[in-house]
């Protein structure tokens, strides 16, 4: 694998620059925007997205996708709220349980994808339905968490300096990011993930543990979703089946804006952090403006996504050859998905 530094680092650089630029514009236009606490609030309000984005980064780096993350967050909040409120479990036992549950769900999807050669898109779609449905099986209504220690952790301010503070959620998210950076860039597991995303066949031929790594990637994503669910329940202090609806899109958008290629193999965990911060900043800008309606957030995110994807296309070494790159990638995946299916069922509309 040739290391072409420029096309890889430019999207990341653009993301960081864009963030700085947006923050500068905000500070220039709105009073009170240029404050450390505004910056810290980005972390406080998006800690869960950061955690889930990290998991998603690994999945996308490996060339897959995970649509189930939003529902797993909802399920986690629901199980947590139900066990803590209605069954008086200790919160540590509950947190341990939900983390195991999320990982198990991820493991299940990973096994289905890897062992049975199913499409990640469809399998995680099934996982999304399953987790959302399980939420409603527990309760249709929202459950408010009133447990004392939960509220204490949730509302605790960790003062950094003067009166600027962060919450425990931010600490959790930053620890996850630090671990993820180690895992992605300094461990054998991370190198395997990049190798699989770059070219799975080559990875197999090189003797890398492809099956184990792919299953672990989905397990990791499940774990991150569950952890994000815990963070989310600290943030919202409630469990609800409609929580985190569409969060999978936000997570994917954050990863892509962070410079990770959806075809896999290229990207940085650090980029995802800035992707999440930019999404948070858009919301903060719209909030500070006051005259713009909330749906501009969606349009802005869409435009940003579009811009970044176009940028990625431009930076690709073979951009001049039009659509050949993604076709090559799709072909590669199709071969893996259906090793012997093509010959048998060919026929328009049987």
């Amino acid at each position: 694998m040739k290391l072409k530094l420029t096309p890889r680092t430019v999207p990341l650089l653009v993301t960081v620059l864009l963030f700085v630029l947006m923050f500068a514009v905000g500070s220039w236009r709105y009073e009170g925007f240029f404050a450390p606490q505004v910056f810290l609030n980005l972390f406080i309000d998006n800690a869960f997205l950061l955690v889930v984005g990290v998991g998603m980064t690994f999945v996308i780096l490996s060339g897959g996708i995970d649509l189930s993350v939003g529902s797993v967050i909802a399920l986690t909040t629901m199980v947590t709220a139900s066990l803590v409120e209605h069954h008086q479990w200790s919160i540590w036992a509950v947190i341990l349980l939900v983390l195991l549950m999320g990982s198990a769900l991820g493991l299940l999807m990973g096994v289905l994808i890897q062992v049975f050669r199913l499409q990640p898109f469809i399998v995680t779609l099934g996982g999304m339905f399953l987790a959302r449905g399980l939420c409603y099986l527990i309760s249709i209504d929202a459950i408010t968490i009133t447990e004392a220690s939960y509220s204490v952790i949730s509302q605790h301010h960790i003062v950094l300096w003067a009166d600027n503070f962060i919450s425990w959620n931010v600490v959790i998210a930053l620890v996850v990011v630090a671990l993820a950076i180690y895992l992605a860039h300094y461990s054998a597991f991370g190198r395997n993930v990049y190798a699989i995303g770059g070219n799975e066949r080559s990875a197999v031929l090189m003797g890398l543990p492809v099956a184990r790594t792919k299953i672990l990637v989905y397990t990791l994503s499940g774990f991150c979703s569950a952890l994000a669910g815990v963070v989310f329940s600290f943030y919202m202090l409630s469990g609800y089946g409609l929580h985190a609806q569409g969060m999978e899109l936000d997570a994917i958008a954050a990863v892509v804006i962070g410079g990770t290629l959806l075809s896999g193999g290229v990207g940085y965990v650090f980029g995802t952090v800035f992707g999440v911060l930019i999404l948070g900043l858009i919301q903060t800008l719209i909030m500070f403006d006051g005259t713009l309606s909330s749906w501009w957030t969606k349009i802005a995110i869409g435009l940003l996504l579009c811009g970044f994807c176009l940028l990625q296309r431009l930076l690709e070494p073979r951009a001049g050859q039009g659509a050949s790159r993604w076709r090559g990638l799709r072909r590669k995946r199709a071969k893996q998905a259906a090793p012997s299916g093509n010959g048998r069922f060919v026929g328009v509309d049987g």
């Binding site: 996708i65 289905l112 898109f121 994917i252 994807c309 995946r333 299916g341 069922f345 328009v348």
Partner: protein, 351 residues
């Protein structure tokens, strides 16, 4: 003799439409078991009534979107923006029609802001533009289909809300309700739309070379280009057509509920459509596709919903059962599982 019968069964079992048909029949039987009146059809006021008609009618938007999605998936693409397109189409129609009840000469008369036909054309046109935009990104720019359509999926809901100013627009215009609730010759009107679209597609893909072209692009884009196919034009048309069908589905949805909701119209419809296509035996890897299968898939989803409601299972279970169906059907289509189950027979075949 017994051997040939087994072989024949195995042959049937490998027919692409075998599983969708069996699933649908099983679901209908399940419905029938819980509700003896299920298969009952009757004509009241010249209209055909019955649970079966109901299922067909309710499944109409999904069937339309699934048909468009089938073609997109056949080219090895995917369109996850159809739900947003449905919302945009509904918002445009509702915005243009609006409608008020005016008393003229003692008679209540419905007045639309813009002539209805024009409004409908504008709505479908807007949806087609959405499809074209997707096609442009996929075929022109060369983005991956999932990310290209993700852009519109995220931004589309915002645009729909922008059009409707973030509110649910209620429509007060009687003629518009015909699109989703009307009856023609005793059958619900949406069924005619589905039949027309299906007929057109069947003709296009079977009686012209278009079906072959689409399949060629999906099976091997490079080879199809060397064979002289204009793969980009085909992709562009396929995505535009998918948008168009989503637009029509949006009109039906909007007319059904007599309002346009930018936030919730067509929510998760893209996932249901992809599910319907997959259930119908079309592989997400592109190439082979089955329009009939997708219709069956849409009907399976609707019958499942109907069964859940009619058997008295709490509706909340719907999603869990859907998940179980997704997993089950995926596993049935999995080559690995087939190899595990049918190993002895397949070995015999190869010998």
């Amino acid at each position: 003799m017994r051997h040939t019968l087994l072989d024949k069964l195995a042959q049937w079992g490998r027919h692409p439409l075998c599983w969708p048909v069996l699933t649908l029949v099983a679901l209908l039987l399940l419905n029938w078991a819980f509700n003896p009146q299920f298969l009952h059809l009757e004509i009241r006021n010249g209209r055909l009534y019955g649970s079966l008609v109901d299922i067909l009618n309710r499944a109409a938007p999904l069937m339309l979107v699934a048909l468009g999605m089938t073609l997109v998936i056949a080219t090895r693409g995917i369109d996850i923006s159809v739900g947003a397109t449905v919302a945009i189409s509904g918002a445009v129609a509702a915005m243009l029609i609006g409608g008020t009840l005016v008393i003229q000469d003692g008679q209540p008369v419905y007045v639309a802001k813009v002539p209805m036909l024009l409004a409908l054309l504008a709505a479908v046109g807007a949806a087609t533009l959405c499809g074209l935009w997707n096609g442009l990104l996929v075929a022109g720019v060369g983005m991956q289909p999932i990310i290209a359509t993700l852009i519109l999926m995220v931004a589309g809901r915002g645009i729909a809300q922008l059009l409707s100013n973030g509110q649910i627009i209620t429509i007060y215009y009687q003629p518009f309700f015909f699109v989703g609730n009307g009856y023609l010759l005793g059958l619900p009107f949406p069924l005619y739309i589905v039949a027309a679209v299906f007929g057109l597609l069947l003709w296009l893909t079977r009686r012209t070379a278009l079906g072959l072209f689409i399949q060629a692009v999906g099976l091997n884009p490079v080879a199809s280009r060397f064979a002289g196919l204009n793969a980009r034009a085909i992709l562009l048309c396929v995505y535009a057509f998918c948008g168009l069908l989503a637009g029509i589905a949006g009109l039906i949805v909007c007319s059904n509920v007599k309002s346009a909701d930018g936030n919730n119209a067509g929510l998760l419809l893209e996932l249901d459509a992809i599910l319907a296509v997959t259930l119908g035996g079309t592989s997400l890897a592109g190439g082979r596709f089955s329009l009939v299968g997708s219709l069956l898939g849409a009907l399976i989803i609707q019958s499942l919903t109907y069964a859940i409601y009619s058997t008295g299972v709490p509706p909340e279970v719907n999603l869990v059962i859907k998940a179980a169906v997704v997993f089950a059907v995926c596993l049935l289509q999995s080559e690995t599982l087939r190899r595990w189950v049918f190993q002895p027979r397949l070995k015999g075949e190869e010998a």
